[in-house]
Structures are given as C-alpha cells and as structure tokens.
Subunit: 405 residues, 4 copies
C-alpha cells in the first residue's frame, strides 16, 4: 500500500503542479486539503479539479470562526504589530493551517505533509514549525526547496502539468504575489520590488480603495468589547467573524488600512510589500482606544513590550510554543476589564476617535480637571516630586561638591 | 539687599499674577524670563508689561534652534512616542526651559526659581527635575502648589492683579488649556474633559485643519536625512527648524498629526487631550520610512524598545539624567547610516509613502525577488528551519513519547 | 460610639507606643493585629501586653502557609530578584499583611488602619498601596509621618509609654533595624550605614553562620518540584513551608544566602543592608537549575525579563495590581512542565549542582553529543548560518561596494 | 599560481589534519594562523610543526591585550551574562580571532578562510558571522561540515595524517572538549553529557580547585576602577590583562568561578558544560559592587536589560553588528562615573564584600539613616505615596462602586 501525503492545496497553478510531482517522485497517494481562512476564492469545483489532477481526495475546511476567535482575537488583544506596521494577517493563519493539515494527516494515516511555500519566505517556517510542534514524526516536503523540483517559472509549471495530462486554463503571466484571508491581503512583486517606486495602487488594491477614491462623507461606527473581545458593531451583537466582515467593508470603502512596508523577514532579508487590512486596522485602533481608559500606566507600558514580543513570536512562526502561550496568558490577564464602547468616524483613510466609554474607566474627571476635587491634593505633588527627583538632586549635589557641574 | 527669584514668564494672566505675589509674600526682586521655543506669541511689549507689573527685568531668549537640534532631533531619531500616540511636544521643551532658567539664575545671582505650572500636571515635574539636576542649591517655588497661593480662578487672579495696581485686559473666560511650541500645540479642558465627547475640532484646532477641510488634492514632498538628521526638504537644504516650519505648514494644511488621547500622567491620573503635531508627525514617519531600509531585524527590534524607554524618560521629566544620555548614545549609534531620501504624498490626514532610497539600504532586490540570485540559496532555508525549529521538535518528540501530545 | 482603628502590632516598642498615641490623638478604639509570617517572635503573653497598653483587642493570625503558597512560590517561579541580589523577603510579606489588616478592619467595622513603618522606607508604600487597593475607603495613619507624632528616639518613646502608664522593660539601646519572616531576615543600621565598612557578621547574623564558621563537610540535598512548586526534600513530600524551614536550617548551617547590598529604594535613596535568606537562596537556585533543562531559549530569555519586572513590581508594593497578576499569569504558564528533581551539595556558602533530572527535559544527549545522531544533521548548520548571517553579509557587501569597509 | 587559504590553527589533531585535507581537496596553499588569546598552550615549535604538516607559513599573533581591552572590558561593563551564569569566555574571543584571520587573509591575498569548529556548536556561527561581517567576499570552509570531510573520530584523523606523512604523537583518547583563553576555560563531554551526573571536578578542573580544596584562610583583595575599567589591584596600577592574570591565580586558588550549566545553544539544542572563570567572576562581581553605589534606580534597571541583550548578541556571534555597537555605546555612557575602589574577601568559592567607596557614590548616609537630615522630609513620603498609589486607589474605588471588590 502506498504512503499518503497531505498537500496544502489552493487550486492555483503552484499547488496543482505539485500533485503529479508528488506522485511521480515519491509514489505517494495525494490527499489535498484546502483550508478556508476567508480567502474568498472560488471553491466550487475544486474537488473535481484536484481529483482530475490526480489527487485521491480533497478536504475543504472552513476554519474562519476558529481563525477569528483563537488566532485573530489574541493578536488584537496583544496589539501585536510587527515592525510598527504589519498586522500579521498571513502570520496568524499559517499555524492554524498547519494544525488542520496535521489533523487530516492523523485522520488519513498520512506519513508526510507537503506545502508549496517559497524558499525565501516566512511561510515555509511557519508551516514547518507548526507541523514540527504538533507532529514531529511526520515528514515535511517543501516542494519548492526540494532537489527533485525542477520547475522555475509559471511556464515550466504549466508545461509540467500538460505533460502529466493536466490541461487547466492557468495564465503564464505573473501578477503580484498575494496572500488573502478574512483579515487581510498582502501584495508583493512587480513594481513593489524596488522600494524607490510608489505602489501602483489602482492596479494593486483588492479589498478597498485609496483615500483619494473614498467617499467625501465620513461615516460613524461604534464597536463594543467585552473583556477585550469585540461583541457588537453599531450596537448589534455579532460574532467576531461577522464584525470583521462588516469592518472590512467599511474600512475598504473609506480607504483604511493600506500599508506600504519594507520589512525584515526571519530568513534575514528585507522584503517590500503592501498590506490591506481594512477591518483589522479599525479593530486594533478601537481596542487600543478602549484600553486607554482602562489600563494603568505600568500595565500599559509592559503590555506594549509584550505586544511587540507577541508579534515577533507570531511572525516567526512560533505559535505553538510555550512562550506564545505564556505571553498570551499575560495579555489575557490584562483584558479582564477591557469592556466598553468606542465610537469613531471613518473618513478617507482616517479613523477619527469620537468618544469612548467604559464601566471600568480609570479616567476620573474630578481628578483630571483643573479644579481640585477631594481625591487629589495639590500639595501631594510637592512630596512626590521631591522623592521622584531625590536621586537626581543627590547626584547634582555630589557633582557640585566636586566642581563637576 | 533683596534676594532674587527667576520667574518663568509668559505674559499671560497666571504668570503675571505671580509677580506681585512673589514680591508680597517672599520679598524677592523678580527677574522674568520668557523662553521662546516657538510659541508664536506676541513678544513685543512684553518687557514693558513685565516691568509695569513689578518685575525688575525681563529676559527674552530665542532657543528655537537649540530646541530643534538638541531636543527634537534626538526624539525623532529615537522614534520616541509616549503611549503609542504622543510625540512629546511639551515634554521635550520643559528641560530646555529649566536649563535656561538656571543659566539666567546663575547670571543674576538668584537664589530661587518660580514656575506657574499646575499641581496636577507633568510640567511641574519636568521643570523641577531639570532645576534639581542642574542647580540643586536653588530653591524652587511652585506658585500654584504654594500654601501662600490663594487664587483659585481667573477672576480671583484678575482681582489680585488689580489690587496690586495691574490693570491689564485679561479675559476671565477660560478656554482650552494649551501649550505651544515649534513642534506642537496641546489642548485640554472644556468638552475634552469627558472622554465620551467628540472633540469640537472646529473650535479647537490652531495649527491646521481637519482632514475633512483639507484640500482635495494631495501634495508630494521629499525629505533628506544625513545620519538621522533631516537636512533638506524637496531637495533644498535647510536647518532643522526651517524644515519643521515648512512641514508644519504642509501638515497643517493637509489635516495631518491630530491626535486625541487619554494618557497616563506621571502623577498617577489619566488625562484627555488633543495634540496637533503636523510637521512632527511627518518627520517621525519619514525618518522611520528611511530606517526600514537600513536597520537590520535585531537592531530594529531593540531600537523600538529603546525608543519607548526614551519616550518614558522624556515624558517623566528625566532629561538631565544618566539614563537619558545612555539611551541617546544607543540611538545615535544606530543613526550612522540613516542617510537617504524619502518621498510621500500628503492627503487629507494621510502620509502616503511614495518611494525611499538610501546608499546604505540593506534591501537587495536580487535576494528579495522570487527568482533566485547568487546570494541566496533556497536549500539554505532547509537547514535554517531545521535548527530554528529544533527545540520545538525535541519538545514535541518528548511530549509524544510521554503520550501528552 | 468611638471609631475603631486597626493597628499592625508587633509587641515591640514602636508599635506599643502607638496604642496610647492613637487613643490620645484620635480618640480611637484600638484593635491590634499581629500577623505571623514566621518572624519567630514570642507571641505568648502578647494579648495581655496589648490590652495592658490600652488596646481593646488583639488578633494573632498565623498566615505562614498562605505566605509560602501564594506569595513566596510565585516569586520563586518568577526567579524574582531585585537589583541582582535581593530575594524580596520583606517585600513579599507586606501585601499579605495589608490584606489581613483589611480583613480584620472589615470584620471589626474599623474606619482606619495604622502602621508604624518609617517615612524613609519602602514598607510604608507597600502597606499603603495594599490598603488602597483593597479598601480605598479606609483612612491610613502612618504614625511616624503623622504631624501629631512627636517622638524621635527610643528614649522618647519609652518616656511617652511611661507617661501613659505603660511600664514595659524596653531597652533604649538601638540595635540593627531588622525585619524577619519565614523567608528571610534583613539588617540595617549601625556599621552598615557606611558602605565602606565590612559588616560585623559575628554580631549581625541570626539565621546562620558565615561560610568560615560553616562545617568542613558538605551535605547533599535533593529537591523535587511539580509544575514549578517544591513538593519534596530528600524524597520526602512536605508542604512548602516545611520545605523552607528545612532549607533554612540547612542553608544557615552551611553559610548560604548572606547578601550585602546597596540598593535603590522606591523613595529615591540608596540604602545598605544585609539579608539572610538561607533556604530561599537554595530554593531559587534549585528551581533555576531545573528550568535549565526545560525552558527553551526564547522562553528562558523572555522569562528572565519578566522575572525582573516581577521583582520590581513586588519591591514597589504593587502586589495587588493588574500588572502583577498579568506577569504572574505569564510565569505560571511557563511552569507547566517544570517538574523534576535537582541535587546539590551545600558547602561553606556554596550551592554546588550535583545532577538534575526531569521527565520534560529538552536536553537530548544524542543531539548534544559530538557524535552525530539522527536528529541533527551537521549540514543543516550551513544553511542556518547562511541565513542567520544574511543581513550581516549584505551590509558588509554594501559597505565594501562603497569603500567603507 | 595556487589560491591561498587561511587556516585557524591550534596545533592540535583536528586542525593539523585539516592542512593536508585542504591541499588535497582544494589544491590550496595553506597559511596557518594561531591566535593567542591566552590559551597557555605550548607555542614553541609550532611553526616547524605546521610546516612539516604541509603549511606554507605560520603566523602566531599575541592578541591578549586587545582581547582584554576591547572585548572583555565591554562585557564586564555590560555585566553580560548568558542565561544567568555563563561569562561568555569563548564567545568573546571568537570575533577577535575572526578579525585577525581576515587581517592575515588580506595581507596574504588569500581567497578563503578555514576553521575546524564542530557543526553542532556556536563557534562555527561566531567565526563565520565575523568573517561575513569583515570580508564578505572571502570563501568560508567549515572543514567538519564539508562534504569532502570523511573523518569522524580521532582515530580516523590520525590515520589520515599518517597517510599524508604526518607522524605526530597525538593520542586517540578523547578527553573533555575544552576551550581556553585568558578569561576562562570551558569543559564539555564525558560524564558531563548526562545532566544527571555530578561533574568529576578532580579530573576536570584546570584553572583552580574546588571550594573544598581551597585554603582554610580567606584572602582580602581590593580592585580599583576608573570609568568602569579596572586599573589597579591591591592599590597597584596594572594593565587589564595583568589584573586578570592576578585574579585568575587568586580565584583559582580560592575555588571561585566554577559554573555547571545546561545552556541553550544558538543552533537550537541544549548542551551541558562546566566553565571555570576564576578571575572573571571576581571582576564581574567587583564591578557590580561599585555600580551599586553609583547608578540610580532607573539606570540600574535598564542597564540590566541591556546587559542581557549584550550577552545574547555576543553569544550569538553578532559582535560585528550595529546592534552590538549601539548597546556598547549605551553601556559606555553609563560608565562615566564608575570610579572607585571595592574590597572583598575570597574564601572557598565565596566573594565576600568588604567595603566599597567612590567619589561619585549616590549613597548619602544622612538621607539613608533613620534620623532625619535636611535633605529628606518624612512628610514628602505622604505625597509621594498618594500619587504613586493614585491609580490603584481610583481603580479600587471604581470596583467598590460596582460591587466588584
């Protein structure tokens, strides 16, 4: 009996060509798995396509809600941003895909998992670290890095497919290299390969428009959170995935969440990309807007560092690691009172705050106001400053005494 | 002979009332000092005003270039942002003012320095820590916290002035509480005191307009940096202060740099304010855009933490401290190769990247591109991932062996 | 009916003198509370003493196990060390004392809590922040800082007691200022006040001897941990407090855990003290010895930073804060697999490792050994280094190309 | 004309076997370079040996002072410790060796550099990253990882040597794997390969004795520092290398600086080793003892984090990186006032503090003492605590109001 391999399958040219390649070179039975994280691709007919290309079977798994609840929400709560700008859309999805591939591998009794990620990118790391963490016994085949892989262009893949009886209408033209899910879409390649170039946004954008093309009228929105989880939009209770869908429409319409970045990949190179994260950008901003009312100064500062750490971990593909769990435990602990409502106005790329309320707000008008209330005695500041500045003064006295000030 | 006190003087009601108060209660000769950090206030006639109110003398010091070169530039290089949003406009200026007050105190042989900062704010800390650090022997008088200070409203201050022969046309109406310099203007008070309220931007803004009121046409700008210092705008060499002035006009016109924040003060309370930093926001963004090309991954990550630390130190008024010097030394070291040009388009609140170049760019198109060049061998990724994920795999094997995976 | 005050009472001169002082100056009924954290003081007769001095009532609460399980263990797990040396013995106990004072205050319907901590130290902060966090409505009376407090020496306190009918055999001689509980004892004062002086250890030490006076024979001990909690000593299951008691005896006997430090207090001054933490030092070292086998590199590094943060929080008296809870959640998450046994030899101040084992050890002899096993392929290192050093090489090439290398 | 390769040569079996191997497999002229970092090996006759084995030339470079001044001192100042215990002895030396290899390569016009570090260790990374950083054009040959390398035991190396006419009296027995320089010696292998084993110290130790075998009499020593650099021992001015030599003798004699650790290598595995760093351990402790007097609380805390970061960078072989330079700039800035004298007693593994003095000490006895001096007003603590605990109290009031406290 042949061994089985699980192939992360999208239906595109790259992963399609892998099917005959796996059979020819490894003599595997190929089980294709298409994980739906919200990429909005045509899934109808995918099963026939996979089978017609030689796959034994195709699984299609809709994991959108699991993706939103278990992967996106922790990142929102951590305010995890990689290198100041990237909201981790692709990074978040990869471990979940790895997990599902492993689950199917176990179910099918497969001995290997194959993916089609490039040898220059971060995704190979994320897939493979996920698999190593969950199924260290499974063999991993990275088709593009494999010595038996000989194709180096779309043309050669198409030719290879044809030679193996696969005649699908794939185009040989390459466009941007993209990755999409419910949270974001990324774009790389073409004019973006030179950071000196302005992106060709009209050609590029998928989820929304540029600020210039956004409506001339702003639009108010409100979001409600409970313990750091988004629970309602404009007062209407919805599950997280539906809130993100609504925010994507709103954000895309109003030109929000377009990021042009040169980032440092884990494999040591800089790459340049454009990300569209319309709903996600709003969600991050809204969550932070609420936290401003609730976290104290110390907690805010340490949480910021931990959020950066969380972003690094997720970016590096170390989702299934004790460290990610520990940082998430930290973050979850801070969310206990992140409950309340935030309002803002979307207008041509801007998210403009329009009021925030929370039952756990530490903002106290009587303290903050210029007129003194009961809780704050101006004279306390005298003592505070004297001790806050004590070491400063002692040092200065010492330096003065030595004639060095 | 009477002792002398140096008074940080603005010409406004608060600091004017302090002149007779200091004379009456402490029997000082009062030397007023007005430090011009770019607040764009009317300084003509200020000398007569101060003297007519009982001051012995008035110094007016234009410190704008020192402010830009020695205080603002280090913050830009550090990308110092307090609590994700505040570009530290007021925080940066206070230590310089303290330094100048001390210099005048030494020149005049004064024994005390007096300021009119409120007992609830951060500025009292920044002034006083600056003075303690530079002149620990000088007495500090914080008028508003002083037990001899009896005025608690503008009305009572006006009355006190009149009773002491000062009849100036001060208005008893209070507006927003503001602080302005060449870098920014801050607004507090009125409707802002409740975070649930949307700011009344039409009433509030001073340096620019809202995105809605900004022109319908975007505008391209380029900035050049040498070793992390801005040196030219649109190809024209200018000193830093003039670049900031130009950027303020551009940013203000295009609705850029308006921030609405609830922040944590050093004295333990939350306060809500709106900041306008039109030029500064552009400068920060441009500098970061350039650093993306130049800093490697490790340096980028640690510099981010150090920038947060720098922001905290400056916010807390600890400018004249060994720690600020050390963090600045770190940051300056990273700026050695931050040389290049950045282009962007300003449009209705957005700073849209439009291309970046640097002779020290680490971006390498042949490495980043999908087609393999000499420098990067896909197969290296295999080894990299195996070792990068080694502990992950070892742990998983151990857990599997124990039946806990 | 009189209002009641809860007094943190030790039976010593300071807190004894506070009883009549509270009655005289505030007209309170005084309820004394003595919290036993393991200070090993004579508690017999304490009730009569308190009452004879005018107290209405005395509570004695043995909280040793709660102290060990809820306060010490988290610090051990965090490896929380303040300024590289201080194992936080006093800092850990203060919040628990504050919590118990509040509980008694609620039970008694008291309106105030009084403590006798000095106005220069950290303990006043720890007590008061604890009370503020748990009972913000209660009035706090810090006797020594109170303007009605007039005594400034032991003599004057003794005199005050006598004048109020209290004739107890207190000595007017001052010794070291000490704080003791089951975890440690601290010493300040006398010759320690000058950091140039060597401590007079023969006079000073309470819990053990110097290394010089320790036995010439070393002694082997083993400790077992489950999920980061010490559960057995030399194979014998014991509760944490009993393990600490055993370790204190062993550590004291072998001259372990004596620390001489100049530390930075929260109130801005440096102070010099000697700490004895015989059992605690062993426990920290043992726990770390075990973690070496279990935590991966990333987790180890971040946990180290979090441990430092935990130490700062606890030192600053912010035990009852969201940040402490969050950091503890992080730490607890890392302890899931910190299970195993450590052996070491105690000898004249040294804790010498003598072997460590854990079912969750990530140490893998076949990988670590020089002879290659299955899991590690030498050639992987080639790819790893190429990518690990890619940005280094790209930078160097760029510099070389510019003639700057 | 043949191309030249530079071989990092020690005279031992491994690097000796590489000479004929390089000639045979790559047809290189082999230039051997022996960098003396204080390994105290027999260097007499090394030239003849190298030549008799086929090398064209041998360079012997004494870099001990450069090692001490430029590599060790920055680590001491940073208090750089890897994973709480390892004083980086090998890590510090590797970049300097790489630098010298590159210098000789340039002088000789060589096109490649060869080293004999194992494919499992950190040293291959440190050598290669150093070479990449300084000479990205040079080819790197890692003999042990090279596919043409066929020897896998000492026996096979000896045989290979014999087959190539080299008959040197190398022993086939393997002992511990060791690396030595003026700062330390490391030991791996044999019984250490199982962390459950106690090290066989009698067999193992080279630089000193165990505490048990150390003298029964302690010994006082004093060290003087200027701006963080050790300048004198027992009052006698000496260069750093001589101070380290003296301290090595003293430390070795008194059983100091023996560390038994399971550490996480960069390549992802745990390894177990014993380090002897007798002088270095004293130097680190002494430097820290001095800093306690001089650094303020904030600076101390951030420097601690930066020291950890420095240790990671050095451990990872990233010495020649912008980040190392930046962190070092931070550290150097903090050393400006680290001037003074520290005394301690060495006794059976213990470094016991015996007094510290500095002209820049921030310790102020009149402030620290229990009796109030001018500089510290007890009542300031009231205000300090009220503001330090303000957010704590506000939160508690809010929770109380909601019935959640």
């Amino acid at each position: 009996m042949k061994e089985k391999v699980i192939l992360a399958y999208s239906g595109g040219l790259d992963t399609t060509a892998i099917i005959p390649w796996l059979k020819e070179n490894f003599n595997y039975d190929v089980v294709c798995v298409c994980i739906d994280c919200g990429q909005e691709e045509e899934l109808d007919g995918l099963e026939e396509r996979a089978k017609s290309c030689g796959a034994e079977k195709l699984y299609i798994l809709d994991v959108i809600d699991e993706f939103c609840d278990e992967y996106i929400v922790p990142c929102v709560q951590a305010h995890a941003v990689y290198e100041n700008k990237y909201l981790l859309g692709t990074s978040m999805a990869r471990p979940l895909i790895a997990k599902k591939l492993v689950e199917i591998a176990r179910k099918e009794g497969a001995t290997a998992i194959c993916h089609g990620a490039t040898g220059k990118g971060n995704d190979q790391i994320r897939f493979e670290l996920g698999i190593k963490a969950l199924a260290p016994d499974l063999k991993i085949i990275a088709a593009w890095r494999n010595e038996k892989w000989t194709m180096d262009s779309r043309e050669s893949e198409i030719e290879y497919c044809k030679a193996h009886g696969i005649n699908l209408p794939f185009s040989a033209d390459s466009s941007y290299s993209r990755d999409r899910n419910i949270w974001h879409i990324s774009h790389e390649g073409l004019e973006l390969e030179d950071p000196a170039n302005e992106p060709n946004y009209d050609h590029l954008l998928v989820l929304g428009v540029t600020p210039e093309k956004a409506p001339d009228e702003g639009e108010y929105v409100s979001l409600s959170f409970e313990k750091g989880v988004p629970v309602a939009i404009n007062g209407e209770k919805k599950k997280v995935s539906d809130i993100i869908r609504d925010l994507n429409k709103l954000g895309g319409k109003h030109g929000i969440g377009i990021v042009d970045i040169v980032e440092n990949r884990v494999v040591g190179m800089k790459s340049r990309g454009v990300y569209e994260t319309p709903g996600g950008t709003i969600l991050y901003e809204a969550h932070q807007q609420l936290e401003e009312l609730i976290l104290d100064r110390d907690a805010y500062a340490v949480k910021k560092d931990m959020g950066n750490k969380f972003a690094q971990i997720v970016y590096e593909g170390k989702w299934f690691s004790p460290l990610r769990e520990a940082v998430q435990a930290f973050v979850e602990s801070t969310q206990k009172y992140v409950t309340g409502e935030v309002k803002f106005k979307l207008y041509k790329g801007n998210i403009i705050k329009a009021g925030t309320t929370s039952p756990y707000s530490l903002y106290n008008e009587s303290i903050a106001s210029f007129t003194t209330g009961d809780l704050y005695d101006h004279h306390d500041a005298e003592g505070f400053i004297n001790l806050f500045g004590l070491s400063t003064k002692v040092r200065a006295m010492k330096m003065q005494e030595r004639g060095e000030l």
